[in-house]
């Protein structure tokens, strides 16, 4: 019945983005991979849920390890128990009793929701988009451009002019400012060669912008600091300029927005890598409990114990759900998921909006991502807004005032506040205690997946220093099937996928929505 392989190169536990990338990378170069998750869904903390499952997962405490199947020793190896620490805390749910969308109606429409635990946006020139293209797995998901980028300035929500077209069309920036902004953008692209910038690289970017001014009015400084560079007061000029450059370079690649998001929610991304892993022979088993690990006298992990069975592996990659060292000094992030009435049905159907709220009195910077039914994340006539910030007190304390300021009670249908653990601040992916065990990060606060991809690549290189990291997977028509022995032969991945881009895009006035263009089909 259970014909799982008992000895593999790599065992991966948990199906979040970073560990799924490692799984795919290993299978891709021919390593045998066994991939388990104790939950019955893909994605771990990076998952998207329907309405019913989200409410359930937020309110269900993690199963205490009952010790069933635990062992003391085997073949002279010591047994170490895996201990899931609670992922969610301070969960508080508010329901608008006056909304036509009753709890019952939300439940009835449950499967139309894909609610992200970890909402993110992909920079068009960020590491995730580049990796999806270079590994040839962008075909596993569909994407849309984020249509608007906003910022909170004082009490007003204003649009951040992004493209040249935006800059010239917007009312929030005057003609003189437009020139200054364009000049700044041009300089940022080449910042390493601008003495103006290079002297400041190690100093705070906020001071630089305010002291040097560069003819940038207070208005523009706000846009640059909080939206384009997304800097906090402690961000150095060097890292802020790097972020600003990524933002600017991302503009125009696919249209007048630097960001893409996957349709059906961010939970799709981890699945893309799991599918790739499976296509290259990785074996998947969700809903499978793991009791712990066997380590040798040098504290090197040799095997995983799951449902009373022992699986041997050279490397074991895990996420926080399987952490045997039970690290407790984790940071946390505060989240709110707000289900809303859609304000005006005329509005572009939900390619999404990013709102960056600068840090305020005792409140850290908050990222708000708002999407509608067009992203296949909620039923028609509703929208979903995600709030994300560093935890100060609790999710509700940190975010409630802002949620209610942006969305008046008549608009709100359902709100969930919760805190999630954040391990992205930990310095290294290997646990100190055990060799051969790699602990991957939680989603964290960052907008894109750069740190997760860097971490996955770092772990892969530690495991297989001589192998290529996620080389391009062949297209089906490049595979020559050899029926003599039933084994398909793969051609060397010679040609790279060529990015189809919409020109320099900065002056394009297209709909900025390649998916919509694809839907229109040929004339």
């Amino acid at each position: 019945m259970d014909d799982l392989p008992r000895e593999v190169d790599v065992i991966v536990l948990g199906t979040g983005v970073p560990e799924s990338i490692v799984a795919a990378a290993c299978a891709r170069v021919g390593k045998s991979v066994l991939h388990f998750d104790h939950r019955s869904h893909y994605g771990s903390m990076f998952a998207s849920f329907n309405f019913h499952d989200l409410t359930e997962i937020l309110q269900t405490p993690p199963k205490p390890s009952d010790g069933d199947g635990a062992a003391t020793s085997e073949d002279g190896l010591r047994f170490i128990q895996s201990r899931a620490s609670p992922v969610f805390s301070n969960v508080e749910i508010e329901v608008n009793e006056h909304s036509e969308w009753s709890l019952e109606k939300l439940e009835q429409n449950s499967r139309k929701f894909n609610l992200d635990l970890a909402p993110k946006l992909l920079f068009a020139r960020g590491k995730m988009v580049e990796l999806l293209i270079s590994s040839n797995i962008a075909k596993y998901a569909e994407f849309k451009l984020t249509s608007k980028i906003l910022t909170l300035k004082g009490d007003d929500i204003v649009q951040v002019p992004c493209s040249r077209a935006d800059v010239f069309a917007t009312d929030s920036v005057n003609v003189v400012e437009k020139r200054a902004l364009m000049r700044f953008i041009t300089n940022v692209l080449d910042y390493e060669n601008q003495p103006l910038f290079t002297e400041w690289l190690d100093k705070p970017f906020e001071d630089f912008i305010k002291l040097k001014a560069l003819f940038l009015t207070e208005n523009l400084q706000h846009f640059i600091l909080h939206s384009i560079a997304m800097a906090t007061p402690s961000t150095t000029t060097g890292s802020a300029l790097e972020d600003a450059r990524k933002f600017i370079r991302s503009l125009g690649r696919y249209g007048n927005s630097p960001f893409l998001s996957p349709i059906y929610g961010c939970g799709e991304l981890a699945q893309c890598f799991c599918r790739l892993c499976a296509v290259f022979g990785g074996v998947y088993h969700l809903d499978r409990q793991v009791e712990g690990y066997f380590v040798d006298e040098d504290n090197r992990v040799r095997a995983v114990r799951s449902r009373g069975e022992t699986f041997r592996a050279s490397h074991v990659v895990i996420n926080q759900d399987f952490d045997p060292s039970h690290t407790s000094n984790n940071e946390h992030i505060s989240r709110a998921i707000v289900i809303l009435h859609q304000e005006s049905p005329i509005e572009e159907p939900g390619a999404g909006t990013l709102l960056r709220v600068p840090p305020g009195n005792d409140r850290p910077a908050v990222t708000v991502i708002e999407q509608g039914a067009g992203m296949m994340i909620c039923p028609k006539n509703l929208m979903v807004a995600h709030f994300i910030c560093r935890k100060v007190i609790s999710a509700r304390e940190d975010l409630k005032a802002l949620v209610e300021k942006i969305y008046p009670s008549s608009k709100r249908v359902w709100v969930a506040y919760f805190n999630m653990i954040d391990t992205t601040m930990r310095s290294k992916p290997t646990t100190d205690d055990f060799a051969g065990l790699y602990l991957m990060s939680t989603p964290g606060l960052q907008l894109d997946y750069d740190i997760h991809i860097e971490q996955a690549e770092e772990v892969f290189r530690k495991m297989y220093p001589d192998e290529e990291f996620l080389p391009r997977a062949p297209d089906p028509d490049e595979i020559i099937l050899d029926f003599e022995d039933g084994v398909p032969q793969q051609p060397a991945a010679e040609h790279q996928g060529i990015a189809q881009e919409s020109g320099d895009g900065s002056e394009s006035d297209g709909s900025g929505n390649p998916v919509a263009e694809a839907e229109q089909g040929p004339a």
């Binding site: 329907n50 293209i133 599918r275 998947y284 793969q490 694809a518």
Partner: protein, 202 residues
């Protein structure tokens, strides 16, 4: 570049060992792969058929072995135009699992998706599921039904040609209808690109 009018994503599901990969191979390559074992590196296979003078490209996706422990990614079902649910007529358990597979389809696939149920391995003489039982199941669930043998090439061509016909008719009807926005499952039919759904990332 190859010219075609419509591109459809056809997704196969069903228990391990019912012959999904063999059906795809038989149809796309005219081969019956000997032996068992997962096919490393093959994501989907493509075959172009003609429907009333139009070239129609079928992109046929296999499960990559994730069905063995009921661990298929939801994203596998997304944007499928047709779902082909396969069982083995000589294995009662593979038929008994069909309702579970239907539930999974209903949760993740578009409600408008074309659904077919296929009883494979009719070349075998140890049949456990009579044809009328399969037919009855299909009728109750409003699905197209056919029995096939990937080994003997019985009805394999017919299965996929029928799917291509039905999808093409639906696509034409929606294209020429004047009402409302296009149905979501049309989103990727007509395009010059192999993969219109992800055109932007190629």
């Amino acid at each position: 570049m190859e010219d075609y009018k419509f591109l459809f994503k056809v997704v196969l599901i069903g228990n391990a060992g019912v012959g999904k990969t063999c059906l795809v191979r038989r149809f796309t390559q005219g081969m019956f792969p000997p032996g068992q074992g997962a096919t490393i590196g093959v994501d989907f296979l493509i075959k172009t058929v003609e429907v009333d003078g139009d070239k129609v490209k079928l992109q046929i996706w296999d499960t990559a072995g994730q069905e063995r422990f009921r661990s298929i990614t939801q994203s596998y079902y997304r944007s499928a135009h047709a779902l082909v649910l396969v069982y083995d007529i000589s294995s009662q358990p593979t038929f008994d699992c069909l309702p579970d597979w239907l539930r999974e389809i209903e949760q993740y696939a578009s409600p408008k998706v074309l659904r077919a149920v296929v009883g494979n391995k009719i070349d075998r003489d140890d049949r456990e599921i009579p044809t009328h039982i399969g037919e009855e199941f299909a009728r109750r669930n409003d699905m197209y039904f056919i029995e096939t043998s990937a080994k003997e090439a019985d009805n394999v061509e017919k299965l996929f040609t029928e799917i291509a016909h039905r999808l093409t008719q639906e696509a034409r009807a929606s294209r020429y209808s004047t009402s409302g926005p296009a149905a979501p499952d049309l989103s990727q039919s007509p395009s010059k690109s192999d993969n219109p759904c992800c055109k932007m990332l190629q």
